[in-house]
Symmetry: C3
Subunit: 157 residues, 3 copies
Amino acid sequence: MVNTPNCYALVRGAAEGRTRLNAFDLALLNAGVGDTNLMRMSSILPPAARQVDIGEVVLPKGGLIPLAYASIDGTMPGQLISCAVAVGIPEDDREPGVIMEFEDHAPLSNVEEIVRQMVVDGFDYRNRKLREVKSLGIEHKVERCGSVFAAAVLWYL
Amino acid sequence: MVNTPNCYALVRGAAEGRTRLNAFDLALLNAGVGDTNLMRMSSILPPAARQVDIGEVVLPKGGLIPLAYASIDGTMPGQLISCAVAVGIPEDDREPGVIMEFEDHAPLSNVEEIVRQMVVDGFDYRNRKLREVKSLGIEHKVERCGSVFAAAVLWYL
Amino acid sequence: MVNTPNCYALVRGAAEGRTRLNAFDLALLNAGVGDTNLMRMSSILPPAARQVDIGEVVLPKGGLIPLAYASIDGTMPGQLISCAVAVGIPEDDREPGVIMEFEDHAPLSNVEEIVRQMVVDGFDYRNRKLREVKSLGIEHKVERCGSVFAAAVLWYL
């Protein structure tokens, strides 16, 4: 069994690349997590997890890093692509929080409003008291082949 | 390296939500795994893994939980959505079993018949003797934005 | 936290099956990783990771195995499906390498050329010196329901 992570960082990046995967890879580098092996998970914040800056934690090069992320790419010049993550912190820090992800061909303001409401809804149907919603997103106008990425990275202090 | 899990639980859930991700999140809660970080894997039952009820194991809040799952969502009112998992138990308990997942806009009876046959096929081309097929699925008629989820969750006793 | 893997194997497989998931499952068996639980990750080669043949490492039956993979399936008789992975080895073995994946309804020669260029690009925008690119791919002409799979499997020596 893998230990439950006890900290998290919100990160984001955007990039153009020659292929969709290269654009995504470069967006990960921009976000500060590009030389790791990201393992996507469904998206709960462990109880009392502490927020850190991505620069405060040492992610091993090539290490296996759990995260929740939103991402979208596009190849139509001029098209907007946006994605965002939101994290809901519970009043009771013995309870887990909720992480939501959303992406769309739309302005970031729309996407971030939706992802924040998704967290509010996630607390509502859990009957859990919400202390605070934190969100981070990114918007990019596609030139040739663009990608955006926003994530809650979980790790250990 | 992560230890190989030694038990599994079959779970299922269905829900309506304001967004597809919220409906999925609520389906996970209905299934009893909603406050964990699910990590999807390709789908083998470890040798001699013991079946448990999801209530018998303690999944850490926010913990990293490996699983194989089927899921489908829909936004057309009145539309049927169904998904199911099936697990094949080998005669020889030193051999691994096979987990299959299937989902469709169709009645559960069709989906479950297909997923059970997928397990039979998986044993056939492995030339492995099959003792038993266990399956679990769920069907839902979409109201506005519905999601169904069925999974084999792996964990440790 | 999970230890960072220190070796990798390049593998590939192709198969026909009664369903898309069965074809994929059988392609995994052909590749020598079919009785494990594969966990997909974004795709970095840990520093100084040693290349091994898949037969040299012991993958536990039902074990949780991290990997990066390309895969594509098809159900149009006569259609070509191809996929490939490429691994870039850095000059400085304290640095991580880059793994890229690509798949298309196209001849393998095209797909493999693209995935190798993706690695070159990944080193370029990292300003990292590239020692060597290794690639492995597979092409299959669909009969009824075919799948191809190529991967860089990470593990421990």
